[in-house]
Symmetry: C2
Subunit: 144 residues, 2 copies
DNA sequence: CGGTATCCTCGCCGATACTG
DNA sequence: CAGTATCGGCGAGGATACCG
């Protein structure tokens, strides 16, 4: 890494256009990519597509709870970042298939590792929630 | 009552309290954990703490752009899930240290793998954004 | 079937002020 | 220094209606 000097946040962000990203720089485009990938529905879409190609409606069923609007929006963002491939079949009724690109499979792999860990570790996490913490009494009126 | 039958989303969610989580079930607590971990600031806090113990203000500096309120809120959520340990030192001026628990180090490891990949792959992602997509003309007025 | 456009609500989040 | 309390905007996102 060539040094760019300290305090050059903007320069850092701009340089990252051609080189590596830096999530600690608020202006770096990698922040946007991270937001897409880790978004509420982005995570679930990526993991679902890892199992194979899906139609819009199949995806909607798989990612339970998502609205059409948000699914569409999420897919557009992921397609824009080059993670998702969208194939329109000019038939009646219309059919659109969504699948991961090779770039998408890479990122989805990391996302799945995270989600798998969470699903597996849920018992330990729920157990940890039971333990007493260092924030005992919120002081004052505890409830309205 | 062993079996819950099909379509038992709620039953599924409840059962997961004792067993493995299921992110595809909207009511499963794992959804909440995922939201904490993948939240805007949660990701950056976890990765930062992976480098070692930090004081509140040090963390605030490291995670550039976060407000006191959001940092505090994020830390409380992560502490509640058992990922972050909060240690108050009864001295003047007050001093509070934040560090990862072993559970936290595990999840943070996965998060860091993801963020590292994004930072490294940013050039490829930005390049992919340049390519023509299957959504050529949005039809109608393209601009306001 | 697979979207997009519009409306409207809700809660995220920043700014500010105050406390231990 | 390390927070909590409160207010307010603004944008994410759900509901609905409609189009190719």
């Amino acid at each position: 890494m060539a040094r760019t000097g300290r305090g050059g946040r903007l320069a850092e962000a701009l340089r990252s256009q051609a080189g590596r990203g830096d999530l600690h720089a608020p202006a770096c485009p990698s922040r946007g990519v991270l937001d897409h990938v880790t978004s509420r529905w982005g995570v679930l879409v990526l993991v679902s597509l890892l199992e194979g190609t899906h139609r819009f409606s199949a995806l909607r069923r798989k990612v339970a709870g998502v609205s059409e609007k948000m699914l569409s929006q999420t897919l557009q963002a992921l397609e824009h970042d080059g993670f998702v491939r969208r194939e329109v079949h000019p038939v009646i009724p219309p059919r659109v298939d969504y699948s991961l690109t090779s770039l998408g499979r890479e990122v989805a792999g990391h996302v799945e590792a995270l989600t798998d860990w969470i699903e597996d570790s849920l018992p330990r996490i729920l157990a940890a929630r039971e333990e007493p913490k260092s924030r005992p009494a919120p002081a004052g009126r505890a409830r309205a």
